[in-house]
Symmetry: C2
Subunit: 189 residues, 2 copies
């Protein structure tokens, strides 16, 4: 088959896949996790049920794929903040604040509890840990951040401390949490 | 029945109960969670199987009771550290360090994963939160600690940050984590 044809097929497949993820997420948001079926998702996606089964074996697989796409989007957002202009300290603040707000926004739903059991979450968490560690190492070198504790340990501190964002009542409280967490990272007096 | 007799019965019951908890914990430590049976626990406790069933319906109930006893012991230990002499900052440091070392020591086993699902853990966590919040409020009043963020929010920060102790490789790393966490609590410069 000509290359153009293959590309068209691939584009079509990706479009169906993306539409199925969107449909599943919208249905769960509207009706709750337990009531969503493959038939409903197929209908909302605009494909037959048999077609949907060629892409995904069950609802959980669709939701996991949707979650992986969400996480990828978050990580790309954080990477853009990391790569903007400014000192390591400023960029770290932007990244941690964005991460804490994501935690705050998405925490505690039934869907979050289901999805966060997955292995893809452990991988994303490791990726984020390495990412934050890099910024912390940079800040330690420039003197913006403390250098008496290894960046690896400080990254564990950051990610755990910001986990509190999930239980805080407001975005203002999340910003205060980031301020406190960053205060722990300043050079020792 | 005379009062003395009732007390003797009560003392006996408590002794059997405690012995069953010790036996169950020792058996799990030796053979793993899945292989421990009520018969083995009864044998190690020195009572009949039927007697053990008068105290506990199953192995999980025994392990939960054992865990509640462990948590109570930890909370008593932390309360003693809180009530010793010293500034609020010093006593907070002692409490947070002890808490972080408990997290470090007990985290990540199969038993911990099972037991930490229980409601009694949520209750203990709330108790600890209130306890830490009290120390933070005291420190904010004396000027030892920051007073620009509510003690309730700072307590959430502390407990989440120290959760990192579970994944740290050594007690020295745990102590560094406590130092960093405390640095976040100092009065804002």
């Amino acid at each position: 088959m000509p290359k153009l044809w293959n590309e068209t097929i691939e584009t079509h497949r990706r479009a169906v896949r993306d539409a199925a993820l969107d449909a599943a997420a919208a249905l769960v948001a509207e009706h709750g996790l337990r009531s969503v079926t493959m038939s409903q998702i197929a209908k909302e996606t605009g494909v037959g049920r048999a077609t949907l089964y060629k892409y995904f074996p069950d609802v959980e697989a669709i939701l996991t794929a949707w979650h992986e796409r969400q996480i990828l989007g978050h990580l790309e957002h954080l990477a853009r903040l990391r790569d903007q202009a400014g000192t390591a300290g400023e960029r770290l603040k932007a990244v941690l604040e964005a991460y804490a707000l994501i935690q705050h926004e998405h925490h505690g739903t039934e869907l979050a509890v289901l999805l966060h059991r997955g292995e893809h979450v452990a991988r994303a968490r490791q990726h984020l840990h390495d990412f934050i560690r890099g910024l912390l190492a940079e800040g330690a070198e420039t003197g913006d951040l403390r250098d008496d504790v290894a960046p690896d340990e400080l990254a564990a501190y950051c990610l755990h401390a910001l986990g509190a964002a999930g239980s805080l009542p407001s975005e203002a409280a999340v910003r205060r949490l980031v301020t406190v967490t960053l205060a722990g990272l300043r050079p020792a007096r």
